[in-house]
Amino acid sequence: MSQVAIIVNGKARKADVEPRMLLVHVLREQFNLTGTHLGCDTSQCGACTVLVDGRSAKSCTIFAVQADGSEVTTIEGLATDGQLHPLQKGFWDAHGLQCGYCTPGMIMSAVTLLRDTPDPTEAQIREGIAGNLCRCTGYQHIVDAIQLAAGRR
């Protein structure tokens, strides 16, 4: 067992973990932040996407010990002062989700997308979320949601 210290959604947390423990499992099972989902075991779906030190990362692909000392933001930490993040609003307004399973990861990926490309074209949005799978929406309303959020910032 090793101890890791991670700042999660602005709060300092510690956990005792086996070296093989994935970050996503620590977030979900030890910190009870179950908004981060698991959709695969080959790092392809993006359902587990969180921000590590401000950039989106697949938390199923990082051992918890690798995240020691870093700052992690999960979907639960995205709204500030009870105000939804523009992307959260965008997804709601544009019907960017159906079952909602891919949604937290999709939103966290889009955070980085909009940070790097504040005014993206449709093609750039599609490219930017190509690492996230959604089986429900056909992506069109997700694209709309991200466009809406970009326009509002």
């Binding site: 086996e18 093989r20 423990m21 499992h25 979900r28 932040l33 179950t34 908004g35 981060t36 989902h37 698991l38 959709g39 695969c40 075991d41 080959t42 392809q44 779906c45 359902a47 999960t74 979907i75 639960e76 995205l78 709204a79 939804l84 959260q88 997804f91 709601w92 307004d93 019907h95 989700l97 159906q98 079952c99 909602g100 399973y101 891919c102 949604t103 937290p104 939103i107 449709e122 949005i125 599609r126 490219e127 979320i129 190509a130 996230n132 799978l133 959604c134 089986r135 429900c136 929406t137 056909g138 992506y139 069109q140 309303h141 997700i142 694209v143």
Partner: protein, 787 residues
């Protein structure tokens, strides 16, 4: 008298979903988010060969691992639960939840481990040693039908799961076929199109894998289960039956469910095993499927081979159709497996008036993961076979594909229309759908664009397809689980409305659409309506969400129950307003006398009066809560037309979808925003099937496309912006006029894309290409064409 503000009518509006605030903040509760004190994790040891006899199964090392609570083999499990039941009246071999002596597909469970956490459970699974005597793997479908290279189930000679059944022209109720008419049709034909087509096997891949938490409480003798399922009530009945418990001792909860697409209708081995293990150990247990596990352990979809013969005159009038279907159902029958391909037969008429049709079906066992429902379930296959044949006819006769269809449509004045296949199409206007689509796409301009592109040497093609599907599934005669849906509506003491529906959603937005309907019905704000679902302790009865039925059947049950409560509420309000109940209107949170809007009592006051009724009106019981079961007399038949443009890269063979126009008629729409989302999602799955998705097995029965690394899931970059247009032809089958839309997108899209791709490659003389339209396949056609 409170000041009134006018509440807008909500049905038909693009209302934002009420489910979303929790989901966009990561506060939905999916099954893996459920935690119970003392909960153990279970994991399955699965066969890594397709067919073999278990020679040795050694669980001793696994059992001795620190943190392992128990290990059960198939033989031990067989003492706890009965063989797996199915939901269709077809013959089925014995199927144990965990294999006892023979494994029949890669992924079949051979043992289950119960351990402290999921890591230890996995360690223990890896520590189990199994030795098999390999048996020949039955992989090739048509070879399997000859009993080669092996017979999978001793009681099913030649691997025939379902010996040939026939339906259509000249087939009587007993299944006896008279060929006279069909033979005459083919004898009279100027042209006959014959093509073997494969509607390939797909992996459903809901983004949330399956999962279950089972909690048997020995003190109470009752079991609570959380499962990622489309139908908790069916789960409850089946699990109770398997464990020998009464249905009232089992509570099944479908929490937030991360997509289903038909693959979460089936009640799976893992659900029975989790329940049995929890009961045996007196401990709560959780099983969460891993993705690569899901690829082999969750049912697959499609996999029907069709031999299609279409007879027509030289003017393109279809005289006869023969459809010989062979379904590869994998190693076992699951809940609805055997019934799915019968829907392909049922829909063989498609949108056309065809004088003579014969469809036959054989179902065959192979050493593959069993098939069951997958979005569209049998209907996309029918659409595909018939529409492809229509295109080949158009090409053969050099008639525009739109025109050849126009010459064969069931006329709009012929509805309700009894088909040769035994369906009664409720309502439709196929020619109008075609015209709307042609106009929306600019068909003639597109043709000019295609021809201009071709002049520049580009490989561009156009495709068009019609579809009609069967939705709103019921009545009970057509669904072994029961073809109704249930709802209960309660007006609470404070005037809020609580409604419970048996239609258990997994992304369809029923909490929003159902609330829209009730808010309108009672004239109250949307926020005052709460929709409950997915818990058998809260929703007394139900069937579930599949077959695009939740609105058409579940929605109707809901407004029926609503109407009953409303009628009773009017009886309470009548005396208060000194008016006859028939003269009351419910609007803007007020119940008032027709024509005297300011005369009213608030909805809330009438509600509280109903619960403290002093005086109690003559002949009334206190309270405002009513329920309804709705059983439709017929299915509904939504329809539409899809048009696409595809370009194939001459160098690489890669196809690219440039344009997709979809005209869909799902009857009355409750929330067009949600409907569009449903169509988009269906299109993505249909286009995925056409272009990139395919479950590929090798000769040993190994699934080669067994993870997201190998199985091509559609991504955002695979699609252009879809162009949708709605048409509304209400159904007479239910009072809402709603037909259902969940599966629509998967129907028109596959033939439409294949047609466009074949059209793009026309210069190489190609007439048909089987899906998926992999670049390598298209590249070979291009190369062959050059040679």
């Amino acid at each position: 008298m409170a000041t009134t503000h006018v509440l807008p009518k909500l049905v038909g509006q693009r209302i934002k979903r009420r489910e979303d605030p929790r989901l966009i903040q990561g506060r939905g509760t999916y099954v893996d988010d459920v935690k119970i004190v003392g909960m153990q994790h279970i994991a399955f040891k699965r066969s890594d060969i397709a067919h073999g006899r278990i020679r040795r199964l050694d669980v001793s090392v696994a059992k001795a691992l620190e943190g392992v609570e128990a290990v059960f083999t198939g033989a031990q499990l067989a003492e706890l639960i009965r063989p797996m039941p199915i939901g269709t009246p077809f013959p089925s071999p014995t199927h144990r939840a965990i294999a006892v002596d023979v494994v029949r597909y890669v992924g079949e469970a051979v043992a289950v481990v119960v351990a402290r956490d999921r890591y230890v459970a996995r360690d223990a699974v890896d520590a189990i040693v199994v030795e098999y005597e390999p048996l020949p793997a039955v992989v090739d479908l048509e070879r399997a039908m000859t009993g080669q290279p092996a017979v999978i189930h001793a009681d099913f000679p030649n691997n025939i799961a379902l010996p040939q059944i026939a339906s259509g022209t000249g087939v009587d109720a007993s299944g006896k076929a008279d060929d006279t008419k069909i033979d005459q049709a083919f004898a009279a034909a100027d042209v006959v199109i014959s093509q073997r087509m494969v509607n390939q096997r797909l992996v459903p891949n809901a983004m949330e894998p399956r999962g279950v938490v089972a909690h048997y409480e020995p003190g109470k003798g009752s079991l609570t289960m959380w499962s990622s399922t489309q139908n908790p009530h069916i789960l409850r009945s089946m699990v109770a039956g398997m464990l020998g418990l009464g249905e009232s001792q089992v509570r099944a909860i479908a929490p937030e469910v991360g997509g289903g697409f038909g693959a979460k209708i089936n009640i799976y081995a893992e659900e029975y095993v989790a329940a049995a293990v929890s009961k045996a150990l007196g401990l709560p247990v959780k099983w969460i499927e891993e993705r690569t596990e899901a690829f082999v352990a969750t049912t697959h979809g499609r996999d029907i081979l069709g031999y299609v013969d279409l007879a027509a005159t030289k003017d393109g009038k279809v005289l006869g159709l023969k459809l010989r279907l062979i379904a590869d159902i994998g190693a076992y029958n699951m809940l609805l497996t055997a019934a799915i391909p019968t829907l392909t037969m049922l829909m063989a008429n498609a949108t056309y008036d065809i004088p003579a049709i014969r469809a036959t079906l054989v179902e065959v066992f192979t050493n593959k993961t069993p098939t069951d429902a997958y979005r569209g379930a049998g209907r996309p296959e029918a659409t595909y076979f018939v529409e492809r044949a229509m295109d080949m006819l158009a090409a053969e006769l050099r008639i525009d594909p739109a025109e050849v269809r126009r010459r064969n449509f069931i006329p709009s004045d012929k509805f309700p229309y009894a088909t040769q296949m035994g369906a009664v199409y409720d309502s439709g206007d196929y020619e109008k759908a075609l015209d709307v689509a042609l106009a929306a796409a600019g068909w003639e301009a597109l043709k000019a664009e295609r021809d201009a592109a071709r002049k520049q040497g580009r490989l561009v093609g156009l495709g068009l397809s019609m579809y009609v599907e069967v939705c709103g599934v019921g009545p009970s005669a057509s669904l072994p689980t029961g073809g109704w849906e249930h709802a209960q509506v309660t007006v609470e003491r404070d005037g809020r409305i609580t409604a419970a529906t048996g239609a258990s959603p997994h992304g369809q937005g029923n909490e929003t659409t159902f609330a829209q309907m009730l808010a309108d019905q009672f004239g109250v704000p949307l926020e005052h309506v709460t929709i409950l679902h997915g818990d058998t302790a809260v929703v007394k009865q139900g069937i579930g969400t599949f077959g695009s039925r939740s609105q058409a059947v579940g929605g109707t049950a809901l407004v029926m129950a609503g109407a009953r409560v409303k009628a009773k509420m009017a009886k309470f309000a009548g005396p208060l307003l000194e008016a006859h109940e028939a003269d009351l209107v419910f609007e803007n949170g007020i119940i008032s006398v027709k024509g005297l809007p300011t005369s009213g009592k608030s909805f809330k006051d009438v509600a509280s009066y109903a619960y403290v009724p002093v005086p109690l009106p003559e002949g009334l019981e206190p309270g405002l809560s009513e329920e309804a079961f709705f059983e439709p007399k017929n299915n509904t038949y939504p329809f539409g037309c899809h048009i696409s443009m595809v370009e194939v890269d001459r160098q690489t063979g890669e196809p690219r979808l440039l344009k997709l126009v979809a005209v869909d008629d799902a009857g009355t729409l409750i929330n067009p925003l949600i409907v569009e989302g449903q169509i988009h999602g269906g299109l993505a799955q249909g286009i995925g099937q056409a272009l990139i998705e395919e479950a590929v097995y090798d000769e040993q029965g190994q699934l080669l496309t067994g993870s997201f690394m190998d199985y091509a899931m559609p991504r955002a970059t695979d699609f252009p912006r879809f162009e949708l247009q709605a048409m509304v032809t209400p159904t007479p089958v239910n009072p809402l006029g709603a037909k259902g839309v969940g599966e629509a997108g998967t129907l028109g899209s596959t033939p439409c894309l294949v047609a466009a791709t074949v059209d793009a490659l026309r210069e190489f003389g190609v007439k048909h290409i089987d899906m998926s339209l992999r670049p390598e396949k298209l590249w070979r056609i291009i190369q062959g064409g050059r040679a």
